[in-house]
């Protein structure tokens, strides 16, 4: 039976340290059973920050006055070669949401370059049609990341004013289109702090449950980015503290024992380290959230999508993972020809 909204509220309201420790111990045990003591690694690579959507909280939104960049194929190659040299085998390719600046042909070219360097390729981009996901799958993409941000329609409309992202239903049905297209891994998430936490968590869990039943062959994972809005964000929002964040990770692990849980470099090193094994199974390493930020442009030249709190290099992260008694996993997929399923 799935966790109920009332249970989620109870857990979020419970401040008893013993209760929280109990939750974490259970989450640790389940994570070890189903994932072992392993942590998978990936790194994001921003291809473009052109965006035609107006999401009030985002550093890349179309109203933001910032320099727009888009990598050329040779620049992509340089960035990817750098990351491959760091040992990265799983890449997450990101763009802003702009069909115009980053059409399907551009994305397919990026994937063909990525295939030279990486065994696992995922994308975090604008929601696409099924035929587009199918073409990207056949080109070599194995995973997509798509956050609904909030499942509350009213709130969704308040913070996504224009552009394709304003279309709630289209975004909501993205995982299904991707699954039908053959995509192997789908990462879902909500932006913590945007709306009532318990409601959004419950909706996320319901969404995942529905996808599990309809598309059981997909490997799902969950992400929980915490909202840190840009200057000028005038709508109300709430900060999700570390205690609540840990509870969300544990709760998600208990509710979905075999679903991966991702953690980005948005979070501080100390917290990230503590969460290894209490539910988190996949983390980013050596990240840069600017376009061309690894080798092409200096960080001072542009604005990142979000500020990174964990600036440790890949090597340092690997050392920490091992020190904490986990096996860092770089390779978690071997490229086979993706054909229609």
């Amino acid at each position: 039976m799935m966790i109920t909204l009332a249970e989620i509220k109870q857990i979020l309201e419970n401040k008893d340290p013993h209760f929280i420790e109990g939750l974490a111990q259970k989450a640790k045990k389940i994570t070890e059973q189903y994932f072992g003591r392993t942590i998978s690694l990936y790194t994001p690579l921003y291809l473009s920050n052109y965006c035609s959507s107006h999401c009030l909280y985002c550093g890349f939104n179309k109203k933001q006055k910032l320099k727009r960049f888009k990598l050329t194929p040779s620049q992509m190659d340089k960035e990817m070669a750098f990351l491959a040299n760091e040992g990265i085998k799983n890449i997450l390719l990101l763009t802003g949401e702009s069909y115009g600046a980053t059409p399907l042909s551009y994305l397919k070219e990026a994937v063909s370059i990525a295939k030279k360097y990486f065994s696992g390729i995922s994308i975090e981009m604008h929601p696409m049609q099924e035929y587009e996901y199918k073409q990207l799958f056949m080109a070599g993409v194995d995973g997509i990341t798509i956050y609904q941000e909030t499942y509350n329609k009213k709130r969704y409309k308040e913070v996504h004013l224009s552009g394709k992202k304003a279309d709630y239903e289209f975004r909501l049905n993205t995982p299904e289109r991707a699954a039908r297209a053959g995509i192997r891994n789908i990462s879902l998430g909500i932006l913590l702090g945007l709306h009532d936490l318990a409601e959004d968590l419950f909706s996320l869990y319901q969404h995942l449950r529905k996808l599990e039943k309809c598309y059981p062959g997909v490997e799902y994972s969950l992400s929980f980015p915490r909202l840190r809005p840009i200057k000028g964000f005038s709508l109300n929002w709430h900060h999700v503290d570390d205690l609540t964040f840990v509870k969300i990770i544990c709760m998600s692990r208990l509710a979905f024992p075999r679903t991966g849980i991702n953690l980005s470099t948005r979070e501080k090193p100390d917290l990230r380290d503590h969460l290894l094994g209490i539910g988190v199974t996949r983390i980013s390493a050596g990240s840069n959230t600017s376009v061309g930020g690894y080798t092409i442009y200096k960080s001072a030249e542009q604005q990142p999508q979000f500020d990174i709190e964990d600036n440790r290099s890949v090597k340092e992260i690997v050392q920490t993972i091992k020190k904490k008694g986990f096996d860092p996993i770089f390779t978690d997929w071997r490229r086979i020809k993706n054909e229609s399923i």
Binding site: G36, G87, S119, D327, D332, R334, I336
Partner: protein, 272 residues
């Protein structure tokens, strides 16, 4: 006083595809916290067959390669973890062979990320295709006698029914279905998945299983090598018990035969 063992493993070898093995524990190499523990577990237990997921083997061998931690002489069984259908399993198996991992393959076709249950239909198809390409195929399956028969007919070297869900460590939840397979199928039956303790492994062996594959319970133990040794000992204990089980009751003459004694009453009276 030292034990004087009666059971001689050399007289009771596990034979798979014509190859003989003296140890009936197979070890899965995923989930370990440190790769050197894989080596220690293999050595401590005497296991002679290990499984490796091809998806975890770096083709460029830049990162720590699990293959380097598997001692020479061990039979490598590459598994097709990640395959969602027969075609993907075949592609992964071929890739494994091209990479020098040999032609022994454990087919895992799982289109179910919630429970990780194998797709028996696709497993049969994959077995047929891979056997025809010269692979030694050990298919992971949900225990169902029809599937087991079809796999044998397709040329599988063994069948590998799951005991319970991968990682659950719940033991032989599917005991009776497995028992039917053990009784009716003549290729080795290797119970795989869900075996969480040495006693559960012994239970499966007492029932007549030919071998046991264990991953989670060893890899996540505080001392994986010690746990691997415990499993090996338990499997041997279960095997000895199976080989020496008392004959079934129906074959034993009973002192009284209340249901059929009447058939022999006249004969007994004549003798008197």
């Amino acid at each position: 006083m030292a034990m004087e063992t009666i059971y001689k493993q050399k007289d009771d070898m596990l034979i798979i595809a014509g190859k003989k093995f003296s140890n009936r524990l197979l070890i899965g190499t995923g989930k370990f916290k440190h790769k050197p523990e894989v080596t220690k577990s293999i050595k401590a237990s005497g296991a002679e067959i290990v499984t490796v997921a091809l998806r975890r083997i770096d083709e460029q061998i830049n990162e720590e390669n699990i293959l380097e931690y598997i001692p020479k002489g061990i039979t490598l069984l590459t598994n097709t973890s990640g395959a969602r259908n027969a075609q993907e399993a075949v592609r992964i198996a071929r890739l494994a062979r091209e990479c020098g991992c040999g032609n022994w393959v454990k087919i895992e076709v799982i289109n179910d990320s919630k429970y990780l249950l194998p797709d028996n239909v696709e497993t049969i198809k994959a077995t047929e295709l891979l056997v025809s390409e010269g692979f030694v195929v050990l298919p992971y399956m949900f225990p169902d006698i029809y599937t087991a028969r079809a796999l044998v007919k397709a040329g599988a070297a063994t069948v590998m029914p799951l005991g319970s869900l991968i990682g659950s460590m719940q033991g032989l939840r599917l005991k009776e279905a497995i028992r039917i397979i053990i009784n009716e199928i003549d290729v080795p039956v290797i119970v795989d998945a869900g075996i969480g303790s040495p006693s559960q492994a012994a239970e499966a062996m007492e029932m007549g299983a030919d071998a046991i594959l264990v991953n989670t319970a060893i890899a996540t133990a505080d001392n994986p090598a010690a746990m691997a040794e415990a499993f090996s000992l338990a499997i041997t204990a279960g095997r000895i018990a199976y080989l020496n089980h008392a004959p079934e009751a129906i074959l034993t003459a009973k002192a009284s035969s209340p249901l059929t004694g009447f058939l022999f009453e006249q004969e007994n009276k004549t003798k008197e």
